[in-house]
Symmetry: C2
Subunit: 350 residues, 2 copies
């Protein structure tokens, strides 16, 4: 297979972890006789220091032309602490999602038995966790109209959803549930929000086409709690942009592996793959960032193109690294292995 | 002291737990020579089945005239699963907050050493947790304009904040931090929301008047994670209505005592005291609900009126019940004690 892959390293540890993914993809090319073309492009704070724009036009163009996008991370401290900044690195990521119509963010949260000890939850609670979050990614309060009054004393954001936006991701989530344990949980705040009530109404209708999937609705406050009390109760979680942001971060932490989880952002014409984790600017350039979340993102990419055998060979190599304890210090405090070394080890074991 | 107290039991287990609080207050009256007047009034689903309104005019009037309101809980299953319902029990609670201007919801989250085992978190993580959440309660997406398009295919909610709304609760939170461990964490999503950026800007200004308080800002996705990874890092958390809803529920669960935590909702003219927990309709009338959260709400009420000694005598009685294991089954699975019995025990030990 020939694939053109856009590499958007972004900020902080993004480029370092992405470099390890490329090593793995090169090993896949060799072993399985594929031809991948890689094109790098700037996004985020790093792009702003060049063109002034968090998502330069050429980067967007490249992404449109590519078969897939591998994304590193975005965000820099100098902007986080400056509420007056008119342009922000995160806009690069948000515009990418919106421009490419990447409406479904798929985040699998599956326990790694070797990492049980790293969970903040009691092991008996987290044991067996295996869920996937379908987070709507191009609507809701992230993209609704934003306003600030002329005198700067009032600000607002609109959370808006249409039936169409809800139903396309709902169908994806129900289909996934059908292939899995046949349970779906819609997370919303329908006792307060009009938009949540539209989610509930729409999902109630769609559910009728999936009679073998059992579904329930849960308020976000309760869901955040249930994620800690009994994460094994979840199979597929379907939710909006903001609630999905919170729940998926919670998910990555309960299985003790914030540095291991990948995600896929899927649209009708493009697909982007990125780690759960952020840009972690404090670790930039220190060769301590865990490359596995990024490497697993390439696994999701390969699966997206139906390359199951190739995907599995990476998964196996990662498990080899985990069981031989060739891991970065976030996984094992005493570990002396760096980002680079772990990337080399995994790519050499493919 | 003379006090007129409105009793709003509401739905589900609300009235049962509130009845135990009244027992305690009667004991306080006797022991400390106070005169409390109690007036009951309907709110929530129960009020709807009478007058059709979740907050009848007479109830609101009574609340305005009272020195304090003790609230039970609100919400009933038949409405949760009906997205088409035009009137909902929760509107009773939301209108009360809005009409009375109860803008600050104060939720202390403090570990009870005897309950360590009940936490879903590892004990080493939760040990020593002692934080208080200041949740803005009359603004944000809860009360912004709501819309549904004529054909029912689009719905929206506006999240709006003014500098004034932010600054009044921010001052309360900074003052509390000053009396405590002098640390404040603002939780927002300033990398995405305009309203969050107004929070950050306003709080940055206000912080200058509290030079002895160290403060930081944290994104909600990270805060939900830090609440599980290291809750002891928090002293005072300041946040908006929606994020506060999620974080405070998380808080109650990590210390293993969802049935124990009280809250105070404070306005310029009125104050309401209620448990963290919801109406738990499944337990209604079974005499199994934990009355302690409601009883601790009366403690917050007494403290609000400066009655420290009185408040302490209730706290002591509750600790006595905990250490003698006179608790409901949510605290100790094998316990045979009911709501009523626990209420009697505590009030008799005042
Ligand atoms: C960086 C930020 C804008 C982003 C989000 O909130 O969507 C991140 O937290 C994520 O989850 O991908
Ligand atoms: C019942 C509901 C409307 C309410 C809220 O979301 O504020 C509750 O969850 C709470 O936290 O008091």
């Amino acid at each position: 297979m020939q694939l053109k892959i856009a590499l958007l390293g972004g900020d902080g540890i993004g480029p370092e972890v992405l470099a390890q993914s490329v090593k793995c993809l090169k090993a896949i090319e060799e072993t399985f006789n594929h031809k991948f073309e890689y094109v790098e492009a700037p996004v985020g704070a790093i792009a702003m220091s060049g063109s002034g724009k968090p998502l330069p036009n050429e980067t967007l163009k490249l992404c449109r032309e590519s078969d897939a996008i591998l994304f590193g991370a975005i965000g820099a401290l100098e902007y986080d602490n400056n509420p007056e900044a008119k342009v922000r690195p995160e806009q690069g990521l948000l515009s990418l999602r919106k421009e490419l119509g990447l409406f479904a963010n798929v985040r699998p949260v599956k326990m790694f038995p070797t990492l049980l000890k790293n969970s903040p939850l009691k092991e008996s609670i987290v044991l067996g966790t295996d869920l996937v979050i379908f987070r709507e990614l191009t609507g809701g309060i992230y993209f609704g109209e934003k306003n600030i009054s002329a005198d700067g004393t009032k600000a607002s954001d609109v959370c808006e959803y249409s039936e169409k936006e809800i139903s396309r991701i709902a169908h994806m989530a129900f289909k996934a549930a059908k292939r899995r344990r046949k349970k779906l949980t819609l997370v919303d705040k329908a006792n307060v929000l009009e938009s949540s009530r539209l989610w509930r109404k729409t999902v109630t209708e769609i559910a009728k086409s999936y009679p073998d999937v059992t579904w329930e609705a849960m308020f976000i406050d309760n869901a955040a709690v249930q994620m800690m009390l009994k994460p094994t109760q979840f199979d597929v979680i379907l939710t909006d942009n903001m609630f999905g942001d919170i729940l998926s971060d919670q998910g990555s932490v309960i299985i003790g592996s914030v540095g291991l989880l990948p995600s896929a952002s899927i649209g009708t014409e493009n697909a982007m793959f990125e780690p759960f984790h952020g840009s972690y600017p404090q670790a930039k350039g220190k060769n301590i960032a865990n490359p596995v979340a990024s490497i697993f993102s390439t696994v999701m990419m390969l699966q997206h193109f139906g390359l199951e055998e190739e995907a599995n060979s990476i998964v196996k190599a990662v498990h080899e690294s985990l069981s031989r304890k060739v891991v970065t210090p976030d996984i094992l405090g005493s570990s002396k292995y760096g980002t680079d070394y772990v990337g080399d080890f995994i790519s050499e074991h493919i």
